[in-house]
Assembly symmetry: C2
Homo-oligomer: 502 residues x 2
């Protein structure tokens, strides 16, 4: 997998790659600091620094000489497979950065600013009508954006390709239809059963102890604290400040035992993915996670398939009770397991559980597909939203605040491509986990001993180390022996929730 | 003091200034993070990011078009005084960044690397002889460096001018001679007296409480936590991440009550200086502290003239005892005041007290002056060091480790200009403070009430707000009504230590 620099042209390219990566890491530091430790009065100056660095990076990423060098080298016939793929990814990124006319970028950017500002007023006023002209223009500009990439027949394919390279609306749509068909009855059954006891999750759990517990778990998982750290922010995230600097953040609620823990497990999955990319790919276009879906598969795998499993609680319930002996005195391991797997239908995506979250995503994906396909008019979107929620979740919001106005994405210029990765991640998490289990018989017993060596090792070798060396579809097939499929995820959900609530 | 952009050329220049400032702030963030929160494994990647940003900043700071624009504008006759001074400072910095041939910079830089590496081995081996050829070459290169600035008759004037613009070896030498003559008998008398009780400084003081106490004091001083913050590092420092982002760091020893407190007070002085620079100067070459000496005057003023005064302890001893009631149960306010003003002759600069520190600095300054003047050969430096310590401090190190090998500066390429600012700072701290007292009768009584409003206000108006609008010598004369003079400092020392130890 080593890249052999064959000559000076290739070496010069590596230098450019490394510069782009280092400017990206510096931008990430400016953003990390903004979210963690920036003094309130410094916000304006920080925004100016971020704009400057983003501009410097953009200038380098769109430099015509760089583009010519990429084209020249791509035409050669002595490239190694790694070199060929490196050039393919670099040229894809170069195209994304250069194909829009400057005038178009300026117009879109100004429109997004205006749309966002309007949304911050229209949302609390429950005034979707006010947003219709903005959304219509966003839709129009989005279709124009896609038109600069005529290699994609369906505009949605272009948007999906930006975050989940090579995946298509048809492929995702098929997966999502099958998933919805299977999910609706499972949710039906689970929510009809007696809800588990959750009172003890909301006792008082001091923040420092919660943080220490979560950090001890991810140290067991294999998150490398010599190449990362955890800090507190308003919204949890993972960020890449460098090839050896993958930081995560969390937030703590002293009256909610699950908030910090599951955000820590989630972000650690993103970070372990990036920490596991092969050393020789770092500083090149291949040196990072391959797609939104595969990235999310790792956060969901470590958060849900591991962190909400019976085996996990067999390993950790005793430790958690040692940390909080009074608060958990009257709680059993089984009660803890059931409590962290509570399922409830809700109107708000960001509050949803592991199971119903997918229905929120699928709803949005299908509405985007209709919008971009010209089969749904923006003025009918609020009603279509309510109808879809009724169909998919059996709920109808009493207003648009908890309906079509709830997420910022569409009002921030992102129609298409922003949501599907979450559910692709869930689907892939199970597909990868099942493959890891096939290769490592008795894996669940490892987890019950808090021994994550075989699981982490398999993921590192098959998912993390390759970085962007393969397309997402290729990676899935190489790692699991079959193309992207929803079956392992459905099997996982049926077995887990069947046993939980039958 | 407002800069009036007279035309497009001036506006373009402002944009360049702001970019240089923002790249500087980004570099400062990379460095701050390196010292505070960087994961150990990320050190290599961080060094590469720093080198890249430093190069990008250097390219902009030395851009020929920028230099031409500065020259053009400097030739105009319609400049406001602020514009004229802005151009003077910008051209000075441009000259410093461009006048050395690239070959010379590379040679000096390589030599510094080799010299530093040799010193890390020679120092523990007590082997000054090994360093002689390195130092000889450093001296030679330093003289060459100065020769690129023929406007300075004395090479030392060039080095002093880099950190203390407009000050000269003659001016500093005169101040230092007078200071030494006065200091030696004071130190003599003070160290002959019974040393104060200091046992209680070394009881156990939990770190968190120490930090909180220090932060409460500097909040009273007027350090603005909405435009700064304090974190922990190995060596305390102040850093400018932006015009509204002046951060300080400290370190805590649980068995030393003075370590964190006085480092916090010291760094807060540096930071309040920068926080006080007039808003309209930020993002221009005038938007920062004017010199090493004036900067140090503010750290020393808030650390020593305020923080080690009787009035300070009248205000804070009760609060400190409320924080640490058990540890300070048997201690009086007077004992605390005397303990933090202990004087002891020592061989090591970095361990020295307020009073004797100056003698360490003067010794180095005088040896540098002899070296650069060709009156002292490098091979005789170790002996000259011992003789100077005997004369100035009445002590002789038993080896060169605690002698000429103790400080990194000379072995890192800095002969001349690196030390004098510390003692200039002490001298200036008293001159500024005396002027503030004249303008604000009864100032000491304010301090004894922890009311720093008049002192901080006077300093902000007379020292901080102007930034680099005047040269250091001009600033001193405008603020205090007289040129740089050692008299107020000598008066302060005589009164304080006369009363303390008579």
């Amino acid at each position: 997998m080593t890249q052999t620099p064959t000559d000076a042209a290739w070496t010069e390219l590596q230098t450019r790659f490394q510069e782009l990566a280092d400017l990206g890491g510096t931008l990430a530091l400016l953003g990390w600091d903004q979210s963690t430790y920036l003094p309130a009065g410094a916000a304006g100056g920080r925004a100016r620094q971020q704009a400057l660095l983003a501009r410097l990076r953009h200038e380098r990423a769109t430099d015509a000489a760089y583009g010519r060098r990429l084209d020249e080298l791509a035409g050669r016939d002595d490239l190694s497979p790694v070199q060929a793929r490196t050039l393919a990814v670099a040229r894809k990124e170069f195209g994304e950065a250069t194909r829009f006319p400057a005038r178009f970028v300026a117009e879109f950017s100004q429109h997004v600013g205006e749309s966002y500002a309007a949304w911050t007023g229209a949302r609390p006023a429950n005034d979707f009508a006010r947003m219709v002209p903005y959304l219509e223009k966003t839709l129009d500009l989005s279709l124009q954006a896609a038109s600069y990439f005529p290699e994609f027949a369906d505009p949605l394919d272009y948007f999906i390709d930006q975050s989940d390279e090579g995946m298509t609306a048809a492929q995702v749509g098929e997966i999502f239809s099958a998933l919805r068909a299977a999910l609706v009855p499972v949710v039906e059954a689970v929510t009809a059963a007696e809800p588990p006891r959750t009172d003890f999750l909301h006792r008082r759990y001091p923040g420092q102890e919660q943080l220490k517990f979560g950090e001890a778990v991810i140290r067991d998982y294999g998150y490398d604290f010599t190449r990362g750290r955890q800090d507190l922010t308003h919204h949890p995230f993972m960020t890449r400040l460098g090839g050896h600097d993958l930081r995560i953040t969390t937030r703590v609620k002293e009256n909610d035992l699950t908030e910090a823990l599951y955000s820590t497990l989630h972000e650690s999955g993103h970070a372990m993915y990036e920490q596991g990319v092969a050393e020789e790919l770092l500083g090149t276009p291949l040196g990072g996670g391959v797609s939104a879906g595969v990235h999310e598969s790792q956060s969901r795998l470590w958060e849900n398939l591991v962190g909400r499993s019976r085996a996990f609680w067999a390993a950790y319930f005793g430790k958690l009770r040692d940390t909080f002996p009074e608060q958990l005195a009257d709680v059993t391991e089984g009660e803890m397991y059931r409590a962290v797997n509570t399922v409830a239908r809700s109107l708000i995506r960001t509050d949803a559980d592991e199971l119903t979250y997918n229905l929120h995503v699928i709803t949005r994906f299908e509405l985007e597909r209709e919008l971009l396909g010209g089969r749904l008019a923006v003025r009918d979107l609020a009603d279509a939203w309510h109808a879809a929620y009724e169909q998919n979740l059996g709920l109808r919001a009493e207003n648009d605040v908890n309906g079509v106005l709830q997420d910022v994405h569409w009002y921030f210029g992102n129609i298409g491509g922003a949501f599907q990765g979450y559910t692709l991640g869930n689907v892939l998490s199970a597909q990868f986990y099942a493959a890891a289990e096939r290769a490592n018989p008795g894996l669940e017993a490892d987890l019950a001993r808090a021994d994550f060596g075989r699981l982490h090792g398999w993921l590192r070798e098959n998912v993390y180390a390759p970085g962007r060396l393969y397309t997402p579809n290729e990676l899935v097939e190489r790692a699991t022996g079959e193309p992207l499929t929803v079956e392992p995820y459905l099997k996982y959900l049926r077995e887990k929730y069947g046993a939980l609530f039958s």
